[in-house]
C-alpha cells in the first residue's frame, strides 16, 4: 500500500510541482538543514539499520559525507528506505535529494530518466548463490533452474541475457524486496538467488544457516554502483561528485578520520588543498572551505568507510579487489583537487 501511495505521490508531484527545480537542491538542503537520502529497505554492508536503529553502510556513508560537506554535520540525514521499483520515481519527483541505493550505472538510466550518476562507490558484478545441497559448482550447470530475483533491477535483464547467450532455460520468480527474495530462496521456491555479488554475501549472512549456501564463482555482468542525483542541477551534481572524490583522495594521501587535525599542520600541498587551506577551497562548490575536512573528520576516507562497512572490519569480509585505489591496482581513481 505504502508503495502505491508513493507512486501516486510521485506522479502527482510530476504533474503539479514546477518550483522546486528552479531553486537548486543545494540551497534547499541548506535551508532545510537536512539531506534526504534514498537507501535500500535493508541490505547489510550498504544500507541497513543497526541494533540501535541507526542506518549504517557504504551507501549510507555517502549521504553522511554529503551532509558533512554541505551542513557541517554528518548526522543531519533523513534516510528514506525504497524498493528497487520505487527508487527512480522518488528521486525524479524530488522526494529525495540523493539516491544512494546500490544503483547500477547504465546508459538508459543516465540518459532517459532525467538522472545523473555522480561516480562509482562500488564496482560490482552479478553472481549466483545456490544451496550447497544442489551440488552445483558452476552457473553453466543451472540449465532449467528457478531464480529468485528482486524486481526492477538490471539483474533481471542480465539473467535473461546470460541464459539466452548460453542457450539455457530458466524461470524467474520476481519479488519486491530483498527480504522477500531471501524468504523465497529459503522456502525452496527457487534453486538460486541472483544479484550483485556484494549483495549475495550480505544476503547470505541473513540466512538461517549461511553455511548451507554458497556463492558461485561466475560473474556475469559489470555493475558499477554509485550515488544518483537529478539531471539539470549541476551545482548539486558537483557537490555529490566531489564528496566522493575527496574521500578517495583522502585515502590516497593517508588522511584519516583519526589524523585529520594533525594533517592540518602538514606541509604537503596536496593535503593542504584537500583540507581547504589552499587551492580552490569551497568557493566553486558554494560550500564552506572546510567541507572536505568535515567529511574526513566525521565520516572518514574511502578506505575507512569500505573496511568498516563491507571490508575486513565487517561481518561481510569483502576484499578490496577492484575497489582498491588505482595505486594499489584497483579501479578507484579520483581527479586531483587543485
Amino acid at each position: 500500500m505504502m508503495k502505491k501511495t508513493l507512486m501516486t505521490a510521485a506522479v502527482l508531484a510530476a504533474s503539479f510541482s514546477g518550483q522546486a527545480m528552479a531553486e537548486g537542491t543545494l540551497n534547499i538542503v541548506k535551508e532545510r538543514g537536512v539531506v534526504q537520502c534514498g537507501v535500500t529497505t535493508g541490505l547489510a554492508g550498504f544500507s541497513n539499520p543497526d541494533e540501535k536503529g541507526q542506518w549504517a553502510g557504504l551507501d549510507v556513508d555517502v549521504c553522511r559525507a554529503v551532509a558533512a560537506a554541505t551542513l557541517g554535520d554528518a548526522t543531519k540525514v533523513k534516510f528514506i528506505p525504497l524498493t528497487a521499483k520505487e527508487r527512480f520515481t522518488a528521486l525524479q519527483s524530488g522526494e529525495i535529494d540523493i539516491l544512494s541505493r546500490n544503483t547500477t550505472w547504465t546508459q538508459t538510466r543516465d540518459t532517459q530518466l532525467g538522472l545523473n550518476f555522480a561516480g562509482v562507490n562500488y564496482y560490482d558484478g552479478q553472481g549466483f548463490m545456490v544451496s550447497k545441497k544442489l551440488g552445483v559448482k558452476s552457473a553453466k550447470e543451472l540449465d532449467g533452474a528457478a531464480f529468485c530475483i528482486q524486481a526492477g533491477t538490471t539483474t533481471e535483464l542480465n539473467l535473461a541475457d546470460y541464459f539466452r547467450m548460453n542457450g539455457m532455460s530458466y524461470s524467474p520468480v520476481v519479488f519486491d524486496t530483498s527480504d522477500q527474495t531471501v524468504k523465497g530462496f529459503e522456502a525452496g521456491r527457487c534453486d538460486a538467488i541472483t544479484s550483485d555479488q556484494s549483495q549475495l554475501y550480505a544476503l547470505r549472512i541473513k540466512l538461517v544457516d549461511p553455511e548451507a549456501a554458497m556463492v558461485l564463482p561466475e560473474v556475469i555482468s559489470k555493475e558499477p554502483l554509485g550515488p544518483v542525483v537529478r539531471q539539470g542541477d549541476d551545482e548539486w551534481f558537483n557537490v555529490v561528485k566531489w564528496t566522493h572524490n575527496a574521500m578517495l583522495n583522502a585515502e590516497e594521501m593517508g588522511v584519516t578520520s583519526a589524523n585529520t587535525d594533525e594533517m592540518l599542520k602538514s606541509a604537503n600541498p596536496n593535503v593542504r588543498r584537500l583540507l581547504g587551506l589552499e587551492g580552490p577551497k569551497g568557493t566553486g562548490l558554494n560550500l564552506n572551505d572546510d567541507w572536505a575536512y568535515q567529511i574526513i573528520k566525521q565520516v572518514g576516507n574511502y578506505g575507512e568507510v569500505f573496511d568498516r562497512n563491507v571490508g575486513k572490519d565487517s561481518p561481510l569480509q569483502v576484499s578490496r579487489g577492484i575497489n582498491a585505489l588505482w595505486s594499489d591496482g584497483g579501479l578507484q581513481y579520483a581527479p586531483p583537487m587543485r
Partner: protein, 400 residues
C-alpha cells in the same frame, strides 16, 4: 420623442419572451453546467501541459515509443507465447492476461464457495451452520495480504522439494508448483470440440423451451441431467467414435524440476486460494442476507402448495433472493479483481507486478505505465459492472 421610444422597446422585449436569459432557471442551470465542464477541461489540460513541460525540463523521456522496445527480461507465467526478445508492449498483454486469469477463476470459485457457505450458515444442522459461521468470521476479518502471505510462505514451506514430490494420479506437487499431465489432442480431436460447443448451444435452446413450457403448463423438466448429457455426453461419444485421438504429456523430472505437462505455479495457487477464500466469506454473508430478505410467508406458501424443499429453494427463494444479492455481489467481484494486484507481494506476474513493476522500472516511464495500468483496472471493472447490471436487470422484479 426619444423618451417615448425607450419604454416601447423594453415592453416589446418582454412581450417577445426574450427576457434576460439568466432569469430563466433552465438556461441558468445549463450555463452553470457548461461552465463547470469548461473549467474541468481547462484544469485537466493545464495539468497535462504542466506534466509534459516538467518532464521535458527534467530530461525524462516521454511518449509511448517504449512499447516497441525489446523487453529483455523473463516472465514466470504467460498465457501467450513470450520470450525475452519480445517488446514491452507484449509484457503489458502478458500481465493483463495473468490478471484476468486469476480474477476470473477467483470470481467463479468464490461465488460457488460463497453460495454454499451462505446457505450452509442458515442450515438447521447445528454443525454445518457453526462451521460456516466460524469460517466466515475468521476469513473476512484477517487482512487479505496476510492471507496471501500465509498461503504462500507458510503453506509453501511445508511442501517437499522437487525430488521428493508428492505423487498422485500422475500429477506431482512440490514447492515449485503443481505439475499435471496435459492431454494433447491428436488428429480429429477438433470434432470433440465442435460437439462440445454444439452441446452448449443445444442446452441453451432446450432451457428456453423448458422455461416456456413450464410457464405455460407448469410442468418441470429435468434440465440438469439433460444439460449435463448434452454438454459432456455428446463430446464423449464423439471422442470414442473418432478412436480416442488423444495422447497425454506427462511431467517428467529432469535436472532441477519437472518438464512437460501443465505447470501451476505456487504463486498462482496462493493468490487464487487467498482471493477465493477471502471473497467467499463476504459473498456468503451477501447470500445469507439475500435469502433472509425473502418474506417467511413465501416459504410457508410453498410448503402449503406441497413443493419439496429443493424446489422451494430453486423456484421460490433463490429467484427472489437474487434481486437482493446481485448488486452487492458485483462489488465483491470488482473488489476481487482489484485485490488481485496484491500479487506483486508474492511475485505472481500479474499486470501490476510485470508491467507497473518491472517494465516501469526498466523504462522509467512512470506516468505512461501507471496511466495504462489504471486504465486497465477501470476497463475491467466497468466491463464487470456492465455485465452484472445487465444480469441484474434480467433478474429484477418485472412489474406487470
Amino acid at each position: 420623442m426619444s423618451l417615448s421610444d425607450r419604454p416601447t422597446s423594453e415592453s416589446s422585449a418582454i412581450k417577445s419572451g426574450s427576457s434576460r436569459f439568466w432569469n430563466d432557471p433552465d438556461k441558468r442551470a445549463l450555463m452553470f453546467q457548461i461552465l463547470l465542464v469548461l473549467g474541468l477541461a481547462a484544469f485537466l489540460l493545464s495539468i497535462i501541459n504542466n506534466t509534459l513541460s516538467n518532464l521535458e525540463q527534467r530530461g525524462i523521456t516521454t511518449g509511448f515509443a517504449f512499447l516497441d522496445v525489446e523487453a529483455g527480461f523473463g516472465i514466470l507465467q504467460s498465457l501467450i507465447p513470450y520470450t525475452e526478445t519480445d517488446t514491452y508492449g507484449r509484457t503489458f498483454f502478458v500481465g493483463l492476461l495473468n490478471t484476468v486469469l486469476v480474477s476470473v477463476l477467483g470470481i467463479i470459485a468464490a461465488t460457488v464457495l460463497g453460495f454454499f457457505l451462505g446457505v450452509g450458515r442458515l442450515s438447521k444442522n447445528w454443525l454445518i451452520s457453526k462451521v460456516c459461521t466460524v469460517y466466515i468470521e475468521i476469513f473476512r476479518n484477517i487482512p487479505l495480504l496476510l492471507q496471501i502471505f500465509f498461503w504462500y510462505f507458510t503453506v509453501l514451506r511445508t511442501l517437499p522439494s522437487p525430488r521428493q514430490s508428492l505423487e498422485f494420479l500422475g500429477s506431482f506437487l512440490n514447492v515449485r508448483g503443481l505439475y499435471l499431465p496435459q492431454p494433447v489432442g491428436g488428429e480429429g480431436f477438433n470434432v470433440v470440440w465442435v460437439m462440445f460447443f454444439a452441446g452448449l448451444g443445444a442446452t441453451w435452446l432446450l432451457k428456453r423451451w423448458a422455461n416456456k413450457r413450464q410457464e405455460v403448463t407448469g410442468q418441470d423438466f429435468p434440465m440438469l441431467y439433460a444439460g449435463l448429457g448434452l454438454i459432456f455426453g455428446l463430446p464423449l461419444i464423439a471422442f470414442f467414435l473418432m478412436g480416442m485421438p488423444m495422447t497425454v504429456d506427462h511431467p517428467v523430472l529432469t535436472g532441477f524440476n519437472f518438464v512437460g505437462g501443465i505447470t501451476i505455479i505456487p504463486e498462482f495457487m496462493a493468490l487464487w486460494l487467498a482471493l477465493t477464500i477471502y471473497t467467499a466469506a463476504f459473498i456468503a454473508e451477501i447470500v445469507r442476507g439475500g435469502i433472509l430478505s425473502v418474506p417467511h410467508g413465501q416459504l410457508e406458501a410453498a410448503t402449503a402448495l406441497g413443493l419439496p424443499r429443493s424446489k422451494t429453494l430453486r423456484f421460490i427463494i433463490l429467484p427472489q433472493a437474487l434481486r437482493v444479492i446481485i448488486p452487492p455481489l458485483t462489488s465483491q467481484y470488482l473488489n476481487l479483481t482489484k485485490n488481485s494486484s496484491l500479487a506483486t507481494a508474492i511475485g505472481y506476474p500479474d499486470l501490476v507486478s510485470v508491467f507497473a513493476g518491472t517494465t516501469l522500472n526498466q523504462t522509467g516511464q512512470a506516468i505512461e505505465v501507471i496511466f495504462m495500468t489504471m486504465a486497465v483496472y477501470l476497463t475491467l471493472s466497468i466491463l464487470t459492472s456492465i455485465f452484472m447490471n445487465w444480469y441484474n436487470s434480467r433478474k429484477a422484479l418485472i412489474e406487470r
